[in-house]
């Protein structure tokens, strides 16, 4: 089974802190994604990556950056956390050529106070 893991299930940070959310997949997938999920808004794509060191902005990249130094690891960085970034963050991966069967991690619920 494909496994996508995220570094934390719950995280509490203070406003202004730099926050790192890590995602690791064990199936050699080329493509990885970061979403945030908020009540009433569904899942929204923040960033995605086709390959190591490659990244593309999604629909809501403002306030976030990403890093993909190794194929299996995709990190989401909040440079200076703000309260409006309190959300559930979900990571996903998919092999190249697949028709959208993405595999999701369990999510990280981030609270910024």
């Amino acid at each position: 089974d494909v496994k996508v893991t995220q570094s934390s299930r719950y995280l509490v940070k203070r406003t202004g802190e730099k926050v790192f959310l890590e995602c690791v997949q064990d199936m050699d997938h080329e493509n990885m994604f970061w979403y945030r999920q908020d009540p009433g808004l569904g899942l929204r794509l923040i960033y995605f990556s086709y390959d190591v060191k490659m990244k593309e902005k999604g629909d809501i990249p403002e306030g976030y950056s990403v890093s993909r130094e190794k194929k299996e690891r995709f990190s989401l960085i909040l440079e200076s956390a703000s309260t409006n970034q309190t959300s559930m963050y979900l990571c996903a991966s998919i092999p190249t050529g697949s028709s959208y069967e993405q595999y999701f991690g369990p999510g990280t619920r981030l609270t910024v106070t």
Binding site: L43, R44, P106
Partner: protein, 113 residues
């Protein structure tokens, strides 16, 4: 990417068949139709995918009419554990759609005893 419209919520009872219809009037020729399931505090999980006519797996069936402007997810004999949010998405392969999935608000299915 084609936008999808589905009911916000549905109620059912254990043992009943549940049909959730999704409208996607602007579906493109290369687009697949994919359904995901999400339980509280978990990431979405792939259920089924199809292009046309009918697809069946061990979990669900997907009915797609000839014009492909809608699709229906059918869950046979639901149980309490099928209570979840169900998302309908349309899109092509990772190559020609930039890897972007658009998750709508989904349909919150509540199964009662």
């Amino acid at each position: 990417l084609a936008k999808t419209t589905q009911p916000i919520s549905m109620d059912s009872y254990e043992g009943q068949e549940v049909n959730i219809t999704c409208s996607h009037n602007n579906i493109a020729t290369n687009d697949y139709i994919t359904w995901y399931q999400q339980f509280p505090s978990q990431g979405p999980r792939f259920i089924i995918q199809g292009y046309k006519t009918k697809v069946t797996n061990e979990v669900a069936s997907l009915f797609i009419p000839a014009d492909r402007k809608s699709s229906t997810l059918s869950l046979p004999r639901v149980s309490l554990s099928d209570t979840a949010v169900y998302y309908c998405l349309v899109g092509g392969t990772i190559y020609n759609q930039g890897g972007k999935l658009i998750f709508g608000q989904g349909t919150e299915l509540s199964v009662k005893p």
